[in-house]
């Protein structure tokens, strides 16, 4: 049976998203497709799959991204779906361990990539929001909710950024002692 869940998860909460998807899989609902704030699940044996997701550097249709996805599939994982630059994989837990990053260095590099993306999104939202609010103030147009929403997203983005940076610091500190 298919089950669709609409849920919006912020980019900076990507680790929480993966955790949630794995909790669903543990309960017997395996992710089968993804879209904008939309997740589709199908019944599976509880704990049958481990799910991993990742933001790729380049668009999914880029040959480099394709090569990467092929490589991951060759290791026994299944490609579930993609949304923008985000790609979702699953692997049967009976086929062994599944993770995309196994050392601090690659985890830190990945976190940097996501942080940069969040910075761009945050700055854009704040700029656009400030501009819209400014317009609303000067032209006595009706209250501009859109601008306020942009600013709100920007503020959330800053909180997300701080969370990501703290997470990276912790990893970097650890890598002074361990590989």
């Amino acid at each position: 049976m298919r089950k669709t869940i609409h849920k919006c998860i912020w980019v900076w909460d990507f680790d929480k998203e993966e955790k949630w998807l794995n909790e669903m899989a543990a309960k017997g609902l395996a992710l089968v497709s993804v879209g904008f704030c939309k997740y589709e699940f199908e019944d599976c044996e509880p704990g049958e799959y481990k799910i991993c997701m990742q933001m790729l550097e380049k668009n999914v249709s880029n040959p480099e991204s394709q090569k990467y996805m092929e490589f991951i599939e060759e290791t026994g994982a299944e490609h579930i779906g993609t949304f923008k630059n985000w790609v979702y994989f699953r692997k049967k837990t009976s086929n062994g361990h599944f993770e995309l990053f196994s050392d601090n260095e690659s985890r830190v590099r990945y976190l940097k990539r996501i942080t940069n993306f969040v910075i761009v999104v945050t700055v854009l939202n704040i700029l656009v929001g400030a501009y819209n609010v400014f317009l609303a103030c000067t032209f006595v147009s009706p209250v501009n909710f859109l601008g306020l929403i942009n600013i709100l997203i920007g503020i959330l983005g800053i909180a997300g950024m701080i969370r990501l940076i703290k997470k990276r610091r912790r990893l970097e500190q650890e890598s002074q002692l361990f590989e």
Binding site: Y68, E70, A77
Partner: protein, 110 residues
């Protein structure tokens, strides 16, 4: 040439590629060699393979016609890096053993 430590992942990947192997084979081989201790993740392995190819420490073998899976093998340069790493590990082992033994002996005498 000044030589710093190889990462555990790179060390075991190079060691695996003494024989031609594809990506998944490397993951399985490394896990087996280390008695299940080192589990290379697919994304990390992908990055490491690309860097090793760029450095010329491994090469991609021309694939078989009906197989999409690429196989890799170590180069002479890669073997050189392994030998240098073994020397470094030997030094670490010898120093560690010697200093801990000396300390143990001093304790026993006093």
């Amino acid at each position: 040439m000044a030589h710093t430590a190889l990462t555990e992942a790179v060390y075991y990947i190079l060691l695996s590629l003494i024989e031609p192997m594809h990506g998944y084979g490397i993951m399985q081989n490394v896990e087996e060699l280390s008695n299940g201790r080192v589990k290379l993740a697919a994304g990390t392995l992908y990055g490491a393979i690309n860097t090793l190819l760029e450095k010329g420490w491994i090469v991609a073998l021309p694939g078989e016609k009906n197989s999409r899976k690429k196989q890799y093998q170590i180069t002479e340069e890669g073997k050189e890096m392994l030998r240098a790493e073994l020397l470094r590990l030997k030094e670490l082992m010898e120093n560690g053993n010697r200093i801990l033994e000396e300390e143990q002996n001093e304790k026993n005498h006093s």
